[in-house]
């Protein structure tokens, strides 16, 4: 029996497909680069140099022209399906979910 939790089995219907927010601008690119270990946490506003350096590093390992600019090819590489583990370190075991005290 497929698993369901709602009496009307509505949770079995495929959810409307949630799509990942495309990476199309410096802010989403900055977030992508910091999530996968290529840059520090996103600054309040994109600092061109920090971002360019991070983009350049990312371009180099992806065998893309290391221009440091967010060109179409680089954005396409960022939007490819990929593993969520950062590229520069492993995820360590998360603490067990805390339980609300009775």
């Amino acid at each position: 029996e497929p698993l369901f939790h709602s009496r009307d089995r509505s949770d079995l219907e495929p959810a409307p497909l949630r799509r990942a927010q495309p990476i199309a601008d410096p802010l989403t690119a900055q977030r992508f680069l910091s999530k996968y270990g290529w840059a520090d946490a996103p600054p309040a506003g994109p600092r061109a140099t920090g971002l360019a350096e991070a983009v350049r590093r990312f371009q180099k390992v992806n065998a893309l022209p290391a221009s440091g600019r967010l060109d179409a090819v680089t954005l396409a590489a960022m939007n490819r399906p990929r593993c969520g583990v950062p590229d520069t370190r492993l995820l360590s075991r998360p603490p067990p979910p805390t339980r609300s005290k009775r």
């Binding site: 939007n79 593993c83 492993l90 995820l91 075991r93 979910p97």
Partner: protein, 419 residues
Amino acid sequence: SLRPRPPQPEVATPRGGPRAFAKRTLTWRLLGEGASGQLAVDEQRHILRLAFRMWSEVMPLDFREDLASPGAAVDIKLGFGRGRHLGCPRVFDGSGQEFAHAWRLGDIHFDDDEHFTPPSSDVGISLLKVAVHEIGHVLGLPHTYRPGSIMQPNYIPQEPVFELDWSDRKAVQKLYGSCEGSFDTAFDWIRRERNPQGAVTLRFSTYFFRNSWYWLYENRNNRTRYGDPLQILRGWHGIPAQNIDAYVHLWTWGRDERYFFKGNQYWRYNSDKDQTYTKDEQGRSYPKLISEGFPGIPSPLDTAFYDRRKQLIYFFKESLVFAFDVNRDRVLDSYPKKITEVFPGIQPRNHPFRNIDSAYYSYAHNSVFFFKGNAYWKVVNDKDKQKHSWLPSNGLFPKQSISERWFDICDVHTSTLNM
């Protein structure tokens, strides 16, 4: 402090490397509430079982699906989820980009908004491929951008062959060591084939037998065949299902006979029909007693090999070796002798002495090797003698590690042998 803490994974710091599991067998489970709605649960479990087995084929750990223990006792829990999921601090992003993540020595989560498909499909994202990748993280492997590696961060649509390549194997073996272990027997199997011109050519395959399973070793690729080990029962018909003592290929101009030995019996194998003979030319049935077919030879044996030049079978038992003349069907008068006497060690005290596991003549190396435990001793061959005439005939070179010459001969958990 009142509630017992869940057991933490036994963790050891391997040689200078990142942290790794110290247990030999790891357990895993697809969480009941974490199954995907896209594939049948059994298919998901089958794909995950295969993914774990693929790692087990190249490293000393094996993996067992555990459906019974308390969740906290299971080493690796896997589950599918959308957005915020399974109490995980990382939120999935919906379809596209992130399709899964894993925690070192911990759990694996798949984004159920992705279109995961079975290995046979060429659309969507192969669940097998993603699972193998994420298990790599659990074992302690980071991302790499090396072409051909399964640990590349981006999904590479289905390639014709999807296997763990040499570098992935070395990376995981750097954390966990290489596969070691003794063998019941090892031998080269000669096959007659016709080449495109119709001429008969002789080829050989190398086999390693251990307990009830075996590997074909591909000498030119320095690894076992993809998907091995297999169960002996599946690949060889009529011989005992496990613990073979010896294999002998008696091969002269007029004779081409292949024998398996176990206990006090032996079987003859029909290469063309790929099964054992039921009767010999005189109508006597197989298996036969070793004492009848090879008078003077004791049993059970440790091992045996056939020396084509001398047309002698050397049978080994404990510290003794018996030389059996195949043309006169009897043991040479001067035998049995001590193994150390017939095959002297070149280096003092560097010798297997007794109870060798296997005596294996390798056509790939044109040499005989004595296996015992994890080690082998190579017997001096003609080429060695031409180079260094002082070497004793049939001398044994100092021992070396089997896993440093024959790579990645790894066990898998018996529950996955039939995959």
